[in-house]
């Protein structure tokens, strides 16, 4: 039997207690702005980055950089070319679980259907999916179990959902 999967998360919070991280079921919660950086346009840098944009040209250019680990679509708008580019370059397609926790149920259900579409195209083009909370406050964090359940509800199998939650570790946990 192989090693059990290790789960990771991404958040803006830098002061999460180690005991809480363990209780939530994660090996580590990476900090945005410290372990990885969100960028709006491609930049030549040594630090690990995630491109967050709706411009297909900027995304394609950033994904060719070795230090860019993946793409996060703004407003979860589907860009087929960008997903295909991510699949070709072995980069991650990030999905933010915070978008499913909006106060407005109309926005939440719209985000859900958009994320479902992105997942379907990522599967079609062979791009690896990564799910993370991108939490800005403690209340936005979820346990690994809950993140997997949310992934399942969005249309992936439980194995794919577990793999999506552990995908970040390959790029950031060295």
């Amino acid at each position: 039997m192989g090693d059990p999967l290790k789960y990771y998360d991404l958040s803006y919070l830098s002061n999460i207690e180690e005991s809480l991280v363990t209780r939530l079921g994660y090996k580590k919660i990476f900090v945005i702005g410290k372990d990885v950086h969100l960028i709006n346009q491609p930049e030549p840098s040594e630090r690990k980055t995630i491109i967050r944009s709706n411009d297909p040209k900027k995304i394609a250019s950033a994904l060719r950089n070795n230090n860019t680990i993946g793409v996060l679509f703004e407003d979860n708008l589907l860009l087929k070319k960008a997903i295909e580019e991510a699949g070709n370059n072995d980069k991650l397609v990030f999905l933010s679980l915070s978008d499913l926790m909006d106060k407005d149920p109309v926005r939440t259900s719209r985000n859900m259907s958009r994320i479902r579409t992105i997942m379907a195209f990522a599967r079609k083009f062979g791009a690896e999916i990564a799910i993370a909370t991108f939490a800005t406050r403690q209340a936005d964090l979820t346990s690994a179990m809950q993140a997997i359940a949310l992934g399942e509800l969005l249309g992936v199998s439980i194995d794919e959902s577990r793999k999506a939650l552990s995908a970040i570790g390959e790029y950031l946990d060295n």
Binding site: M101, A139, D140, L141, A147, A149
Partner: protein
């Protein structure tokens, strides 16, 4: 003929202190669950607050087979009793006793307290 109840218990930790024994808090939680689950799934899942076992920890009882839906619903609730709080589902079990034992061994100790030596 007595049919066996098919139930699951969820060990839930809140990010802020919560008192689920208060009617207003438990009703707000129920309303938020119905908002995500819908009335039909809420009826089928039948979530009920079982007991409060710590300042931030309580047990929720649901019907077996609806764990995924209730887990996802709890992840989307961000407010309770007017206070911003997230709900983390730490463990699921078929018996409340196992969850209470888990709480005493892991979460209780994390808080720096020493559990009593009495049998659970």
């Amino acid at each position: 003929m007595i049919t066996k109840r098919k139930i699951r218990y969820l060990l839930i930790e809140s990010s802020a202190p919560i008192d689920v024994t208060k009617r207003a808090v438990s009703e707000e939680l129920s309303r938020n669950l119905i908002l995500f689950l819908g009335e039909l799934t809420n009826y089928r899942a039948n979530p009920h607050i079982n007991s409060q076992i710590g300042e931030k920890v309580f047990l929720l009882r649901i019907n077996r087979g609806f764990e995924r839906e209730v887990l996802a619903a709890l992840a989307t609730i961000k407010k309770s009793g007017g206070v911003e709080s997230g709900f983390y589902t730490l463990k699921i079990s078929g018996t409340a006793k196992k969850l209470i034992t888990f709480y005493r061994r892991h979460i209780f100790l994390d808080a720096g307290q020493v559990p009593s030596k009495s049998r659970t």
